[in-house]
């Protein structure tokens, strides 16, 4: 009666394997992770992941064939992005699984978190403390990713500029750094640097994609000098450059964070 149950089932597993094909290659996982931070064009992705453009493009085609990423054309540029939240969630689950199963992953995480304790700040704790103003939130991802979406009130200090800007950070307040997610090494490194300089610092649990997925508010673009001595105005989506955080006051008044 049925044509072939067997073949339907085989076909189903073949479809699942299409997704496997994306995550069988480390560079593709890296690209996907990047795309979960926000959209990017081919060249930017290639540079960040350390690939030749043609190679990056080839990888992206494969990811597109698996429908995990989508594109938006703008003039001669092609911007790639994760096809849905579900894709980023999958990546998180993959990370959790790897951490659960592969001792090597845990070891790498430990190698980085030299500072000792790996305790992280929960999202709810962060929200509360931001509202009380007794914490400084640091987004240590590249500027592009910060601009594509960040925790409201967070300062953008990409890891490579952290040492140079340390003196702008109030040493009397605990610093909470965050980055791309639980497997991203940027925030743990930032915390390590901060602690060596005498700051109290911890990482946020997870990173930006998980924050967004938790339904919490995000801000886009540049926040011009948020939380300076004189709080100033809104215009939160402005794209004006103002990369420097001149003053980092201990006063973080609520308002945007929820």
């Amino acid at each position: 009666m049925e044509i072939s149950i067997e073949s339907k089932n085989t076909e189903l597993y073949e479809q699942l394997a299409r997704i496997g094909k994306v995550i069988v290659n480390p560079k593709r996982i890296e690209l996907l992770d990047l795309l979960c931070q926000g959209e990017r064009n081919v060249e930017a992705l290639a540079v960040t992941a350390g690939l030749k453009i043609t190679t990056a493009s080839a990888h992206l085609q494969i990811m597109r064939a698996a429908r995990l990423v989508e594109i938006r054309r703008e003039g001669t540029h092609v911007y790639y992005r994760a096809a849905s939240e579900e894709v980023c969630r999958f990546l998180s689950v993959l990370g959790e699984l790897a951490r659960d199963r592969l001792a090597e992953v845990e070891r790498i995480m430990q190698d980085i978190a030299i500072g000792g304790d790996t305790e992280r700040v929960s999202r709810t704790e962060l929200l509360n403390r931001v509202r009380r103003g007794d914490v400084v939130v640091l987004d240590v991802r590249p500027t592009e990713e910060y601009e594509a979406g960040h925790i409201p009130g967070a300062y953008s200090i990409p890891l490579e500029h952290l040492e140079a800007r340390l003196d702008g950070i109030n040493p009397n307040v605990e610093v909470v750094a965050y980055c791309r997610g639980p497997l991203c090494l940027l925030a743990p490194q930032a915390v390590d640097i901060l602690r060596k300089r005498g700051y109290r610092a911890r990482c946020l649990e997870d990173g930006m994609p998980e924050w967004r997925r938790a339904g919490l508010e995000t801000a886009a673009g540049v926040e011009d000098k948020p939380h300076t001595e004189n709080p100033a105005q809104g215009d939160r989506t402005a794209k004006r450059r103002s990369r420097e955080v001149h003053t980092v006051a201990s006063q973080a008044e609520g308002g945007h964070a929820r």
Copy 2:
């Protein structure tokens, strides 16, 4: 100062790709799905997945290298099992992602669910109704999987025997069938058959692994003639064969379900 952040990061993605390697091959996904139902030895897995023993063994070695499965030796047999619940959860998420992103998957599901509506019964609804006794629960997976763990009170009628045993099922009660999970085709097919014969029938949402993961009670081994006209005794873990469900009464008294 740091030896190489870059290399640490690359190494991390390489670790994630180890897991990707498992799910890049459809047969390995099938094996993993099978293992999420319960442990099995190499030969049983090979037969069920339609593989030569050596091929199956090779696949299993790869899965073992990725730490997604573990073994238990018993005499000359080697029993494989999913290494943790996390593994099965990952497989579920993969399925959800595939269904979300790949139209082909949705199409296949529709092809099977010819009966029209694809509405499924939730776990909580099922629990309530089992307690009220106005539902018959059918486990349509192979007997081995039923014995490795099933919903308490469910009857084991592997799909291929369903037609032959239809007359044992009370036509006045709705039937709820379940199988391996949301992408498994056994239960939808069972429902199709049942409806054609005039039964009211629906699928359970998801399947056995999700049920277990939800923390709900499971039973192992053979339930000898549960819920017959004379309810009889316990001895729920007995391994005695008693595959036939002679009478399927509408009376499903509570007690085991929760």
